[in-house]
Structures are given as C-alpha cells and as structure tokens.
Symmetry: C2
Subunit: 242 residues, 2 copies
DNA sequence: ACCTGAACACCGTTCAAGT
DNA sequence: ACCTGAACACCGTTCAAGT
C-alpha cells in the first residue's frame, strides 16, 4: 500500500467519507466539522478539498453511504417463505432499514434533507417498488405507497420522479440516460411508465399534497378500523367478509 | 411606546423570536445567524443574549412559535357539521397544520428536532387527542394514533409521555405539576392515566419500536386494502359488510 | 437596566507555497 | 500530484465597559 512520507495511507474520497461517518456516529449532530474529520485522518482540513467539493458534498456522500448499508442489510435478509404476502416482505425491508438507521441517528435527517437521490437510494426504492409490483399493486399504487412508506422508512420526501428535468440537456443524452435507468431500476421505470398521466401526477412531478393526503388517509382508516375492532364490531379485519 | 435613545423600540423576547422567524422564512435553513437576527432588529448581536439564553433557546422558541400558529389556525376552523366522523375532524386539523407548516419550510424540522415539548405543542396534541377520544378511541389507541399522526403532521417524534422523569425533583412539586397538567391538557392526562400499564408501555415512556410498527402496519394494511379494491374485490371498504 | 466594543475560540474555504 | 501554512470572512459567545 502506497504511503506518504509521513507514513500514512493516502487519502481517498472513500476514506474521507468513512471517517466522517464514524465521527458523525460519535459526535452530536451538527458538531461535525471539516477540521474534525481531517484530524481523524491525521491530515490538515484543507487536504479534504482534494476529495470532496465542499462540506455539502461530504454530507451528501454520507447519506448515500448509509443507504448503501441499508441495501447490504436488505441483501442479507432470508428470502421470504413461499406464500408470504407482499406486505410481510415490505415490512421486513422497512424494519431492516430502520434497524440500520437507528445505529446512525444523524442519517435519517441527512437522507431526508438532501435534494437529490444517489444510486444507492434509487436502488433501495427500486427494490421496494419491485416488492409492491410483485404483490400485484398498480403503478399508481406503487407510487403512492413508496411515498407513504419511504418518508417513514428512510425519511425521503423530495420529488420522487424528479429525475432530471428535460431542458438544457441534449435530448439524445436524456433518452440514453433514461434507457440506462430503466435497465438499472426496472421497477421505478415501470412505475413511471405506467402511472396514470391523466391524474394530477405528470411525468417527472409528484403532487406533494396528494401524497401527503394518501398517507394520512391510510393512517386514519387504519386507526378507525382498530377502533371498530376494539368496540367489538368485527369490521372485516383482513379478508373480504370471509 | 418607550424608546431607546437611538429611536428604536426596546428589545423583548417576542421581538427577537419574531425577527428570527421572519428571517428563517426568507433565508435558507441553517443560514440563520445571531448576527443576522440582530441586524434585522438594528442591534448588536450581543444584545440578543439578554432575551434568549443562547442560539438553541432561540431555535426552540422559534419552533414553539410556529406551533402557536397551528393552534390559532385550528381555532379558526369551522366547527364540524353534526354527524361528521372523528376521522374527518382529525383530517381537517392535520391538513390545517400542514398548510401552516408549508409556509415555514424550516419549521417542521425544527419542531421535529427539539427534545422537549412547549405549551403550544402540548396544546396541539391535547386537542388532537380530544378529537380521538370523542370519536370513541381507547387511551391506548389514542396514544398510538398520536404517534402515527403526530410525526406525519408536525414532525414530532420524541418520547410523547416523557413529561418530566420523577427523580431529583420534589415529589410534592411533581404531583402538583401533574395535577396542573391534567387541568390544562385533559385529553393527554386521560390518555396517560388510562393507558394499559401491563403492555410494554409504562407511564412516562413510549416504546419507539412499537409506535413505528403501529404506524407502518397502518400504512401497509391501507395499501393492501386499496390493491384489493383495484383488483375488483370489494374487500369491505368503510363499513362492516353493510 | 440595557446595550456596545473588543476579544476569544472557533468555523468553511482560498490560494500560493512546499515536497 | 498531493498536502500544508497562512490568511480571509465569517460564526457563537464572554465580559468589561459605556450610557
């Protein structure tokens, strides 16, 4: 392994992000400074700027790194027993994500606050979408569900479909990029492709109010169903009046 | 109105918090500095420290101020038409809260992040709890529901019942304080009093994992019910097989 | 009593300089 | 090519001093 004259391994983006992640776990949120990260790497603060654009870039990378852990954790889950309903599979994935996030208390906020989705985040949402599709949900329902579950699970609330607004970019490059996306994130691509365009939801734009009300209604309906159950009325728990 | 020699109204905690709130609306989150707040009040930054303990104290007051707006907005709502189900009433309150919060993008995060609940926040939760009780929910259900809805509505996720851990304090003062609380926040008091103590939820402590799973299950069940409806199975929508 | 000036120990970030 | 030293324009916060 190459070493500098001072006897330490050379810096890299990964080493910087890793050090920052470790530090964020140890130190209170917001107390993370470039100088502290540098200290941990036995380096002057200014050396970091060769590997990250600025502090925001570092925080973005931090969020993405945690979502990578979510994906690794999801990959380790036992395959669901045959006959498991999709809800059970989704539940397990969301709870696994929560488990990882609880170990990095700063992470949910960081993931929540950034404006863009990195590859790891897209991967997580694509996998969750695939579970819903496999369960028989329509594209519209997958879309709403991912909003409702995603905010709760990994705190993401930015425009889900706002991949890259077609404008300044070359039309050719855009199409190629979208084709590549479809290969890599097939469930998301299917969702975007099949979603009802005559609704208030247009391609590349999510109606935040609609998504909020969708999630809110799910909660209210569920609470009301439990109230009924408490009160002794059967109210058709899972099945349709079986 | 009294004025200083320089010709400006004297500072007060309210004026400081108001200026900070206006500034937070205008400037990007995190860009709020003591010096900027002071500038807006035509005062040196150090003068603020006579009215707020430190920046954290100011941010806390900021959050509380916004929740006061939520309460004012809720008070202006038309009384629900007779026969309106409690879900409709709760829905209206949560959507009204969201309306206000959307005008102060920084507020949800701020409310979310602080560790304690001020009087305004307790007021909001007490009113919401009262709606659920009036709808016939049990104390346990109110408790779970307030967790599930509260996080979504005003981003609050700290321990709901962690009012003041009985320890160093005088027992007498504690009892008096709790009695006073019961007068001021009767629905919350009822919830705490009636909640099932044999469950994992003990007085003054909420099981975060349990609340998370409660909210998650509501979402999953609601999504599954919609999938069934899409697929043409009636699945007993609102009523019990009516 | 209420505000100010000067100062302290920090920030993120730049840029020319070292090796 | 990669890191450092010195510096700049900021932070929150203190404390003695002004009025």
């Amino acid at each position: 392994m190459p070493r500098t004259r001072a006897g330490r391994a050379p810096l890299s983006r990964d080493r910087v992000v890793e050090a920052a992640s470790d530090l964020a776990d140890a130190v209170a949120t917001g107390r993370l400074t470039m100088r502290l990260v540098a200290d941990r790497l036995d380096v002057e603060a200014m050396a970091l700027y060769r590997h990250v654009a600025d502090k925001d870039d570092l925080l973005d990378a931090l969020a993405e790194r945690v979502v990578e852990r979510l994906n690794e954790r999801a990959a380790q889950l036992d395959p669901p027993a045959p006959g498991t309903p999709w809800t059970g599979v989704a539940r397990e994935r969301v709870l696994a994500a929560r488990q990882v996030l609880l170990r990095h208390p700063w992470a949910a906020r960081q993931v929540h606050e950034r404006g863009t989705m990195g590859p790891a985040t897209l991967r997580w949402f694509d996998d969750l979408s695939a579970v819903l599709f496999a369960g028989g949900c329509s594209a519209d329902l997958v879309h709403h569900a991912v909003h409702a579950l995603g905010t709760r699970a990994i705190g993401y609330n930015a425009e889900l479909l706002d991949v890259a607004p077609p404008g300044e970019e070359e039309g050719q490059d855009m199409l190629a990029a979208m084709a590549a996306m479809s290969q890599t994130y097939p469930a998301i691509a299917r969702m975007v492709g099949e979603i009802s365009h005559d609704a208030s939801t247009a391609l590349g734009w999510c109606d935040d109010q609609e998504e909020f009300e969708f999630g809110l209604d799910l909660l209210l309906e569920g609470i009301e169903r439990r109230r009924r159950a408490e009160a002794g009325q059967p109210a058709a728990p899972p099945g349709p009046c079986s």
